[in-house]
């Protein structure tokens, strides 16, 4: 059973639109949820992260909305730019191990 699921697999938006990437998880002991983005031929880089004490985390154009009861979170990218085109991974971990469990990623394409 996959512990972290992402949808959609791929998403195309026009420049200036808001992209919404979804993530859900199974393990209620997860207490840290980072989002990483990965560009072709590069390694993942941290974009933004949230802990369950909050239901929202904002950093510029990037916002995480978190629903602990439903075990769901989403990443909203407002005013999308072509440079935002990348694969986005939702991950989750438990503090005492730190081991990250990743979703399968959403490939975002922003068309100019």
């Amino acid at each position: 059973q996959q512990q972290v699921r992402q949808s959609p697999q791929s998403l195309t938006v026009w420049e200036g639109e808001t992209a919404i990437l979804n993530c859900s998880y199974e393990d209620s002991t997860f207490d840290y949820f980072p989002w990483y983005w990965q560009f072709p031929r590069e390694s993942p880089a941290l974009l933004i992260a949230i802990r369950p004490v909050s239901n929202k985390k904002e950093d510029g154009r990037f916002t995480i909305f978190f629903n602990k009861r439903e075990k769901k979170l989403s990443l909203h990218i407002t005013d999308s730019q072509p440079g935002d085109s990348a694969t986005y991974f939702c991950a989750a971990s438990v503090t005492n191990t730190g081991k990250l469990t990743f979703g399968d990623g959403t490939v975002l394409t922003v068309k100019p």
């Binding site: 390694s43 880089a45 730190g98 990250l100 399968d104």
Partner: protein, 113 residues
């Protein structure tokens, strides 16, 4: 920007050969993780260390894979007898602790022919 260093960036081995890759964690980060990312972008946790001690590892790691993080030397991940299915991007990440952000190195891309 991550300051985790991984070498080599690319590694080509024949089946049955040993493959060894190294990682220097970000300065001051005592926790090191190794992940495997396959061609389908799926991540698999392999092993993690706090200083020189293994915290957690998966069964696959215990059989053909070995890893260590000696003091004052780079961490390393070695595959004793490479198989075609081991072809992947091997990512090293470091952090201050279990609850802290993991920063990834550039990865070692292994191709097993």
């Amino acid at each position: 920007n991550s300051k985790v260093i991984q070498t080599p960036r690319y590694l080509v081995k024949g089946q049955g050969q040993k493959a060894k890759m190294r990682c220097i964690p970000e300065k001051g980060h005592p926790v090191v993780f190794w992940y495997q990312q396959n061609k389908n972008n799926e991540f698999k946790f392999l092993i993690n260390f706090q200083n020189q001690e293994v915290l957690q590892q998966i069964d696959m790691t215990e059989k053909r894979f070995s890893a260590e993080c000696p003091s004052n030397s780079p961490c390393s991940l070695e595959i004793q007898s490479s198989e075609a299915g081991d072809s992947a991007l091997y990512l090293c990440a470091s952090s201050l602790g279990g609850q802290d952000t993991q920063y990834f190195g550039p990865g070692t891309r292994l191709l097993v022919l």
